[in-house]
Structures are given as C-alpha cells and as structure tokens.
C-alpha cells in the first residue's frame, strides 16, 4: 500500500482526496455516508460575509456527462458559519479547507478576519480564496478573469491569514491565459492554487425555448470538463517546472469520478484532488476515489503518492 500522505505548502494531510467547495455543503449531510474525518480535507461551501439566499430556481440543468449550476453562493454568512458549521467539523476531527469569497476585495478580508477569530479555527488547515466569483467593483467581472483583481484579493487574504496556514487561490478556466492569472495570484502571496472552478455555460430548455436556469448562465462541472482541468493544471505546472512561474502546490479539481480520473490530475501535477459533482452521483465518491487511487498507485508500483505528482511531465514523449 502506497503512502498516501501529502503536504500542501506546509499543511500535512493523511491523504490527498478532498470534497470540492459547494459539492458537500458543510459536511453534516455527507457525514451520513462517509465520516468527514476520513477525507484528506473537507472543503466548505464558499462562505461570504452576510447570509445569502442565492439565486432563483431552476438552479441546475443536467448536461452530457456534467451539469450546470447557478446557486449564487447561497450560505449562512461567516458568523453563522463560525458559530455552527466550523465547530461541528472540528468536533468530527475533520481537517478543513475553508472556501471564502467576497463581492469586493475588502469583503474577502472581512470574512477571513472573522474566520480567524473563530474558536474552531484550529481545525482549519488552509483557506481557499474563491476568486472565481463576480467582482461588483469591476462590472461583475469574475476576479480571476483579471490579474490585477486576483492580486488584490490574494494580497488581502494572505495578510489576514496567520502565517503557517496556507492560502490557495481558486482559478477559473474561462481565461485566455491561466498561467498569467496563476502568476498574479502567486506573486501576491498565494501559497498554492486550486484548479479549476466551473466553466461558464448555458442550457436552453427546448420545451420552453428559454434558458433552463433562472439566472441564465451557470457553471459547467463534471467529467465533461476533466480534460480542461487536466490541461489547466498541466500548463501551470509546466510553467513551474520551466522556471517561469514560482513553484507552489496545486490542488486539482474538475471531473474526478474515479481513482483513475484523480490520477490524471495528479500525474499532470496536482498534489491533492477534490471530488465535486461526482458526489451527486455517488455520495461515497470521495472515499471510493481514494481507495481506487491507492489501487492505481499500487498497480504502478509507486510507493508514495508524492511520486505520482507531476509524473506525466517526466514520462512525456519528446518529439
């Protein structure tokens, strides 16, 4: 059995498999199927400063090997999160990666400030800044579509999170040059990157002949987008290996349903893997992915998970 432990910018985890933000709520529902403490880390639903009702419904559309969602970051707000959700996760012995967002860079800062003050803070192994969300100050353009906006958010978040606790910037693939955004985030102090958030998509309801989602656009996720996730990870890690981007750990996410899928992201350079949409198909998916990933490593005779990280860059055929 391979040694499945992984280290993410100082955060040591017993295994590399996590939930994905927004795909496991804040743990209690999933806990009925798999103990949250068995996960490498539990990633929370993105939390913002205030309670948010989210978008009107319909909020989802099934797509070929994927789905579209437009939840609109519904959530209880950071205070309720610190009062209820985080202590519950701490009690279960979960290692928690808290996903945070704001509609302005300053709001990110406020959320982090209150989070750090939470009595349950000790279970937090990292903060994931969901910069793939709309920036009201910039015509609602997603922060991660613009290097400058990305930089400002990461800077504020990094300043407010105590040293020793890593900050991950979660990037959207909907950009011309993801390496440039990665560069901005790392330059601003991010300790690592999470890739990818959903792709912007629309489904038309062909009975009603109008967009199926009440909010028109939604985020595309699931196995359909896995090749885009692998590509984004590959490009960023290739740049790190080429010395044109600071070296930092990458958390891979996008379309992972099986251990072999996870291995694709890992071989492309991810030091940990999140399982999102697949959980809707199989509530046990994160645990199953871990078991299957272990079996894949054994099959390849890899003694340590760490040996698989980025291995495809070495085995690549040079033409």
């Amino acid at each position: 059995m391979a040694d499945m432990s992984t280290t993410l910018a100082g955060a040591a985890l017993p295994n590399p498999v996590m939930t994905a933000s927004g795909c496991a709520a804040n743990g209690q529902e999933l806990h009925r199927f798999l103990p949250v403490s068995e996960l490498g880390a539990f990633v929370t639903k993105t939390v913002m400063r205030d309670p948010r009702s989210g978008r009107p419904t319909p909020r989802m559309a099934e797509t070929a090997s994927g789905m579209l969602n437009s939840i609109g970051l519904q959530g209880p707000g950071i205070d309720a999160f610190c009062a209820k959700d985080l202590p519950w996760l701490a009690e279960q012995g979960a290692r928690v990666l808290v996903s945070v967002a704001g509609t302005t860079a300053e709001e990110f800062g406020e959320v982090v400030q209150r989070l750090v003050a939470s009595p349950a803070w000790e279970c937090v192994i990292g903060v994931e800044a969901n910069i793939s969300c709309p920036n009201v100050a910039n015509r609602g353009l997603v922060f991660a579509c613009d290097p400058g906006s990305s930089e400002r958010v990461v800077q504020i978040v990094r300043t407010r999170v105590p040293e020793g606790v890593p900050v991950f910037a979660k990037l959207t693939p909907d950009v011309t040059d993801i390496v440039a955004i990665a560069d901005a985030a790392l330059g601003a102090g991010a300790d690592g990157l999470t890739m990818i958030n959903t792709l912007l998509g629309i489904v038309i309801d062909t009975d009603l002949l109008r967009p199926q989602l009440a909010g028109v656009t939604g985020g595309l996720s699931g196995p359909a987008v896995r090749p885009v996730a692998v590509r984004a990870i590959w490009q960023v890690v290739a740049a790190m290996r080429a010395g044109t981007l600071p070296v930092a750990p990458v958390i891979g996410v996008g379309g992972v349903r099986t251990g072999a899928d996870a291995l694709e992201l890992v071989a492309a350079g991810a030091s940990a893997v999140q399982v999102g949409t697949a959980t809707f198909n199989d509530p046990d998916a994160p645990r199953r992915v871990l078991t299957e990933l272990e079996a894949e490593l054994d099959r390849h005779g890899l003694a340590r998970f760490a040996d698989a990280v980025g291995i495809a860059h070495e085995r690549m055929v040079r033409l």
């Binding site: 948010r52 319909p58 707000g77």
Partner: protein, 291 residues
C-alpha cells in the same frame, strides 16, 4: 434531519406496467426498515457508461421488509426524459444503485382524526401506505385522486382497499368527475370534518390544495417536487422559499427539509411561470443590484 439513510446496490425484482406508468420493485436491503411514507429514493441511471450523472428521485410507493433477501422498495415511474426512460425499460435482475430513504416523511397526527389524501397523477404513489399508517392509528381516511386522463390515474382500485372513501377527477372527464382535485376537495374535507390534508402532485395542484384546505379549516401537508441534483442535501439546487416557525422565510432545501412541507408555510407567491423567485423578505435576499 433523519440520519437513517443507506446507499445500496439494488436490483430490479419486477417491472410492470400500470396505466401510463411503470411500477418497479427493487431489492434494496436495509431501506424498508428505515422508510416512512413521504420519503423518497434517489436512483442512479444509465449504468456504467452513462452520460447522465444525476440521480433521479421517486416517492416511495411501498416497502416490504426483509425476508431473506433484505427487503424491497416500490416506485411508480412516469417515462419522461432519458433517466426515466432507462429506468422504465429495466428488466428483472438489472442493477440500480439506490440511495434511500431520503427527506422528511408526512407527519402523522397524534389523535385519530379524519384526513384527506390527495394525489395528482403518479403523485398518488406514496399515499397508499400513508393511508394504512393513518388507519392503523384509527384515522378516518378519504382519498382524492386526479389526473389529466384516466390512464394517468394511479391506484384507484388500491385506494378503495385502503381508504374509507375515494373520489376521482380527470381534466378530460375520462374517469370520475371532470375537473381538478381541488374542485372536489372542499366538499370531502367538509363532509368528513377532516383536519389534515396530505397531498402529492404538481406544484400548481399543491398550491390549490393548500388554499382549499385552509378555506375549509384543515392543515395541508404537501410533498413537493423540485428539480434535484443530489437528493441528499449537498448541492443547494432544490431550494424553495418556506416560512419557518419564527415567521422568517428562508430558501430551504426541499430534499432534506422537505419534500413534505406544511402547505401554508410555502411561499407560493414566489412561484410563477416555471421559475421560483427569492422573495424580497427572505433571509439573504439580494438587495438592489443583486448578487
């Protein structure tokens, strides 16, 4: 939230046509013992090569506790899109992954009161074992079953076995009274002095049932059917505005806090034209500019 839920590799025991529907009996060890009327199952569809990732949800029609085989659960399925077409085409021994039971059951009255159970189309599916449970408690039970046409009625004969009285309506008059369930409901509630109405069916019907019930002094418990991506409470797609005991409206998940809600707590005013808006007074509603 009930934590009594299992995920099991189920198997089709039988699949038979009933009117416009297919009734599937699934071997699903462990489900029967946990399930209560009003709860539902979430079934994976399409097999190992499926492009349809999301589970499909169905009200539990009945359960049979274990003999040696671990117990079965029945669902009544209307073929509609790819998932239900796949399910309705299954044969004995075919595999179906089952997550169940899910959601909140119909609340049973503490006293042996009179009740009316209202079902629209396949929405009547969960009402028969509810009727049995109510009669075991000494309740007087009447059923009102409605549908667009006779073939879309489900379980009229069965209803006569489990209820003390049955009314039938169809939109086209092909069976029973021409019209809607809500057209006859008031009379039934009044005649039986019912204080509780249970209903399952399309949203528009649930709204009408709630209004008629209120008008006749009964409380309605309605099982809603919102579009669900996960069925287990983790995705936030299935929300709807419901007013809590504190008088505050929240966007709550119909898969874990429902599917059964008190009808008078549902913010029907937010539903319009296939869209459900967030009421302005809901917790966290967008302010001007939106989010």
């Amino acid at each position: 939230m009930s934590s009594g839920v299992v995920q099991v590799a189920g198997e089709v025991v039988a699949n038979r046509r009933v009117g416009a529907y297919q009734q599937l009996t699934l071997l699903a060890p462990g489900v029967a013992g946990l399930a209560r009327p009003g709860q539902f199952v979430a079934l994976a569809v399409g097999g190992p090569t499926s492009a349809n990732l999301l589970r499909r949800c169905f009200s539990i029609h009945r359960v049979e506790e274990a003999g040696s085989d671990g117990g079965t659960v029945d669902v009544v399925v209307a073929a509609h899109g790819p998932g239900t077409r796949w399910l309705t085409a299954l044969g004995p021994h075919d595999a179906v992954d089952v997550v169940a039971p899910l959601g909140q059951p119909f609340p049973l009255p503490a006293e042996p009161v009179a009740c009316v159970l209202v079902g629209g189309g396949y929405g009547s599916a969960p009402l028969f074992w509810l009727a049995e449970a109510l009669r075991e408690r000494g309740c007087h039970v009447e059923m009102v079953l409605g549908a667009a046409s006779a073939d879309r009625l489900y379980g009229v004969a069965h209803a006569r076995d489990v209820a003390d009285g049955v009314s039938v309506t169809t939109d086209d008059g092909s069976a029973g009274t021409r019209g809607r369930v809500s057209d006859v409901l008031g009379e039934v509630v009044e005649r039986t002095s019912s204080v509780v109405v249970y209903a399952c069916g399309p949203m528009a019907m649930l709204r009408a049932v709630t209004e008629v019930s209120a008008a006749y002094g009964a409380v309605a418990h309605v099982a809603v059917e919102e579009s669900m991506a996960c069925g287990i409470g983790v995705c936030m797609t299935c929300v709807m505005p419901v007013t809590g005991d504190d008088g505050v409206t929240r966007m709550v998940r119909s898969c874990v806090e429902g599917p059964v809600f008190r009808g008078d707590r549902v913010r029907w005013d937010a539903f319009d034209g296939g869209v459900c808006r967030v009421p302005d007074d809901a917790v966290g509603a967008p302010r001007a500019g939106g989010h």
